[in-house]
Symmetry: C2
Amino acid sequence: MSITLAHIQEAHARIQPHIHQTPMMHSQQINKLLGCELYFKAENLQKVGAFKARGGCNAVFSMDDESLNKGVITHSSGNHGAALAWAAALRGATCTVVMPENAPQVKKQAVRGYGAKVIECIPTMADREAAVAAEIQATSSTLVHPYDNDAIIAGQGTAALETLEQMDNLPDIILAPVGGGGLLSGTAIVAHAIAKKAGTTIAVIGAEPQGASDAWQGFTSGQRVEQQTPDTIADGLRSTLGMRNFTIIREQVNAIVLASEPAIVEAMRLVWMRLKIIIEPSSAVCVAAVMENPEMFYGKRVAVILSGGNVDLDALPW
Amino acid sequence: MSITLAHIQEAHARIQPHIHQTPMMHSQQINKLLGCELYFKAENLQKVGAFKARGGCNAVFSMDDESLNKGVITHSSGNHGAALAWAAALRGATCTVVMPENAPQVKKQAVRGYGAKVIECIPTMADREAAVAAEIQATSSTLVHPYDNDAIIAGQGTAALETLEQMDNLPDIILAPVGGGGLLSGTAIVAHAIAKKAGTTIAVIGAEPQGASDAWQGFTSGQRVEQQTPDTIADGLRSTLGMRNFTIIREQVNAIVLASEPAIVEAMRLVWMRLKIIIEPSSAVCVAAVMENPEMFYGKRVAVILSGGNVDLDALPW
């Protein structure tokens, strides 16, 4: 199927009783510094501390009881695992998360805290997939892929939907980070459809770390990059773009811009200091991209999705 | 004059165009951990990063043009200086802030950033007051005391006013930190007046660091402590209770509870992790007081004013 605004609106109606409508925030000081008007969607204040709650909730609440009774499963080293565990618990379903054995203890604890079973595996993609396959064989549970999944993309798109509803006027640009591409593809579908209805346009831009630039490479070359060895502090963006995400992004995203590691740290600190909220490095990538590509944003009204706030407070990058 | 709910409502109408209506936040995980229902008023998201914007704005906007043309002055090592500078700039007035020479550079910069003049002095109360007196003599500017001032108390009371308006039901307890006593005295006036109108009661509790416990001592003995040597990480609460603040607090506050330094740090970290917002140690004192006095709060609905979020990110206490 091809995901439309209507699917995302349905997803929103489905998940609304369970998620937070997170606030929009802004800072005159940040605007002055960066030369544009930034409107931040604070998904770090979302359930489980990240927009991932939206996709996880939509996937679980889209399932029929029979499938759900067999449980859900995913592989994730981060926020998607916690989101799926949280959403499954809301419906009393069992959830299994395959996590690399070197994932941070705090993330394993979070997933277990929501009542899910954690299966540890060797941290390679092959091992992850083998562990998932074995578990599915044994339990007939349903795989909920972190981004290459229609229900997930529709769920993540609800963050942009709310953003555009919460703003007095539509922005010139909407900016979202890109890792596996769930958030960015949902955002693109929503933004273009809503802009079209309003007889205007919104440029949809993805922000990616230089150290995990597979989306930028694939977007530029037309050829999806299937493997990369990420080297970035933005742990939420180390994934490689999914298949259906790549297609949507190639068709509907206007640009992908890169951010350097020092800029990501500087941007993270800027947001902490000025907005007084805790964002994780993956969220800071958008702000860093604005810092390093000022000509694209100068004088524009820019909506920015701050994707999450799950940070190890004992390992801050400054 | 004696400050009433009506004064605080007038203050609210006066400052509302300039301040943020900060959100209420909550966390099921914090509630589970602490055994009560906590509703956090996020004044760390206020202009200048603290509730002090309310009092500063009310004081400046209560002045007539003639007085204002001669400027305003205060002494402050922290948020009140920034708040007064910010409010004065809104009306195009000059502002002078006397700051101890050992105040953090970042705070001096913040005050200068709002366009105020900083006069540095030796860090004793006598020297501060001498510097203020000399400047008033020279300029006839108006002193806006950080807490021992009716317009400031009425302004700070608007945080509690909004809190009670934003909650679906009135809380059993409202909890505010106490340093000089501006916030706590305004809070007490509002809470009792509104509870009375609703035919119920709200217990007003102040939270204070053990290392700067002058309010607790004065409250207990009936004798205001006029000097102390504070030793606490909660830099916003190192002041000694003001005269009129002491009177209001003695008459209208139900209890003052103390928090230890380790609990303040633990509480600060808990709020950062669970609410994903940055609060300063002074705000954490309320949460620490709940941790260390569970019997007072068990099963209760408790509104907590998180006073501010101005923290030196290079000197975190963990």
